[in-house]
Symmetry: C2
Subunit: 161 residues, 2 copies
DNA sequence: ATTACTGCAAAGCATTTGCAAATGC
DNA sequence: GCATTTGCAAATGCTTTGCAGTAAT
């Protein structure tokens, strides 16, 4: 296996971050493990993601990559971002269901959720330790909290004996 | 001011929850404070929201209200839900920006965010107390955690002296 | 009577998808 | 050479909006 990403028959992309160089082999491994291909488009998207150090939207990347020699199409940007998320290299900040859910809160109070990824079930909880800790963090950061939200993703294990 | 919501010239909607009856006057107050009107459509949406005790999508409501004598149009459902959110009677579970944001996490680790509602700034933090507490909650609920997310909404107070 | 609200249908917008051409292996 | 990927453009699905008619004050 070629251990150096520069040998993949791709031009060197200049101005690259150390992390990108470090992380690329991980993505390569991931793709290989899925019998997926190491393509130019994937490398380009990958580099752009690691060139950034902020939060971005898929659309921002699409825009950046929509002209010039590094052109990658919208569809491919989304598809690659999904792969990188699956590989654990990228965090999707508002993921799962894109669309808003509501619930009434009168006589209910703020609470948080465990979301089961199998059944879609929501389990509610509230917890003072967490709230207090968050208050403390806010204070530290001179942040005036309006409210907070905690969401835990995972699966509900069957409790039946 | 009429203190009983049943006097608002609207038919009584049967099968109603106590909370709906309790909360309705609050919504009325809210609407009055905005010089907005108490309408049938708003009452119908309101009742449907409080008749539910789960999480729902705006679309679910629209579907429920798209036939029969309690018809309310999609647009109005969304508009009313916004009002109820503004009034603090409803919690929008995936709010703020509807669209996904990404960030790369290699050499970064999982972390959480304080989001400034004025500037859109993200401040990152990670905290073991919170993670531990969440682990504990998951155990209690027989929940197999994949990952969790904490988001705090509010405003960054200027720290300059 | 006045002005806000509703219903409708069309527009918006991020995201997804089907398919023919291109590319990696 | 064969199978996966890409680019394209159209489709999707939730949400928003403009406007003319309707209802609340």
């Amino acid at each position: 296996m070629s251990s150096n990403s520069k040998q993949n028959g791709l031009e060197a992309h200049q101005g690259q971050d150390t992390t990108a160089e470090e992380a690329w082999p991980m993505f390569v491994e991931f793709l290989k493990s899925k019998a997926s291909r190491i393509t130019q488009a994937r490398r380009i998207v990958f580099d752009r993601v690691f060139a950034r150090h902020d939060h971005f939207r898929a659309d921002d990347l699409t825009a950046e990559l929509s002209s010039g020699s590094d052109y990658v199409s919208r569809g491919t940007v989304y598809r690659t971002l999904d792969l990188m998320t699956e590989a654990g290299l990228v965090q999707k900040i508002r993921d799962q269901d894109v669309h808003a859910h509501y619930e009434h809160i009168y006589g209910h109070g703020r609470h948080h959720h465990l979301i089961c990824e199998n059944t879609g079930e929501f389990i509610e909880f509230s917890n003072k330790v967490i709230s207090d800790e968050i208050d403390c963090i806010c204070k530290k950061h001179h942040f005036n909290q309006r409210f907070h939200r905690v969401v835990v993703f995972g699966t509900l294990t069957d409790t039946k004996a």
